[in-house]
Symmetry: C2
Subunit: 137 residues, 2 copies
DNA sequence: ATCCTACGATGGACTCTGTCCAAGTCAAGA
DNA sequence: TCTTGACTTGGACAGAGTCCATCGTAGGAT
């Protein structure tokens, strides 16, 4: 059984076939799927699973911090199963594919106190944009 | 007349009442409005202006680089009239307000060549998140 | 092994954001 | 003033996501 599934069980989640399938889909391919893509892959394993359940399950996993929500454009949100290792994203401006990247240094420290306007800054997201090798040619 | 309006005219834009109003709304308050908010403010000055025109005009201004599109969450895009001075954004996780901020250093240089996967990286967006003073109390 | 029940799943309606299009209007050059 | 093609309009449509009343079932209790 996957790590993700195990952690969910440890948190007291009732283990349903639907949740298992969603967790397996996310844990299986470490890419950044949209909710609809997760739904499509889930249906392949459990044909009756509903869209609402997929949305609910993804939302719950985001809330407890097991996966990350990534909104790189104005389109559908994507879900990142790699929530336990800090990283940033590199997005192709043409085809939209996303890669996890690890910039040097702590981007949080680049924001001086005088530029924080009294906010309690707790997180920072960095999105690099450019053409991927496939789209560049 | 506003600078923005002048630049649009210089680009050969046909000056209609609608475009003038949208430009004035954006140029007037340097906040980050959604398309609907722009529409509401535009209606206050020109009651017949349509939603489609506001969307069209905003899209055109983004294309020519006079304003920026900011997608800080999965909700509505926001429009940033401050397109001519590089800056990043600080977003309140609770109420969603956005402030322009100026981090130190060039975030692009923090991504080593080995982490670029052959992409021609051309831009970087940094979004700081945290609680604003109002929401913190 | 069976029963209970609260938690989870369902699907269809609904909302929000944005796009598209055919028809009508008008800014600005001739 | 006339003409014309760029612009505007509003309503239909589409994609992404949420909500809710009802039904089903996981897992503890017996």
């Amino acid at each position: 059984m996957s790590d993700l599934l195990e952690r969910l069980r440890d948190r007291g989640w009732r283990m349903t076939a639907q949740r298992r399938v969603v967790a397996e889909v996310l844990d299986g391919e470490h890419v950044h799927l949209t909710a609809e893509e997760v739904h499509a892959r889930a249906i392949a394993r459990l044909p009756e699973i509903s869209r609402a359940t997929v949305y609910n399950t993804l939302g719950e996993m985001v809330t407890i911090g097991e996966i990350l929500e990534v909104a790189t454009d104005g389109r559908a949100k994507r879900y990142d199963p790699n929530a336990h290792r800090p990283h940033q994203h590199l997005v192709c401006s043409s085809c939209g594919t996303i890669r996890d990247v690890h910039p040097q240094g702590d981007p949080l420290s680049a924001l001086p106190a005088g530029e924080r306007f009294g906010f309690a800054v707790s997180a920072v997201e960095v999105t690099y944009r450019g053409l991927c090798p496939d789209c560049a040619r």
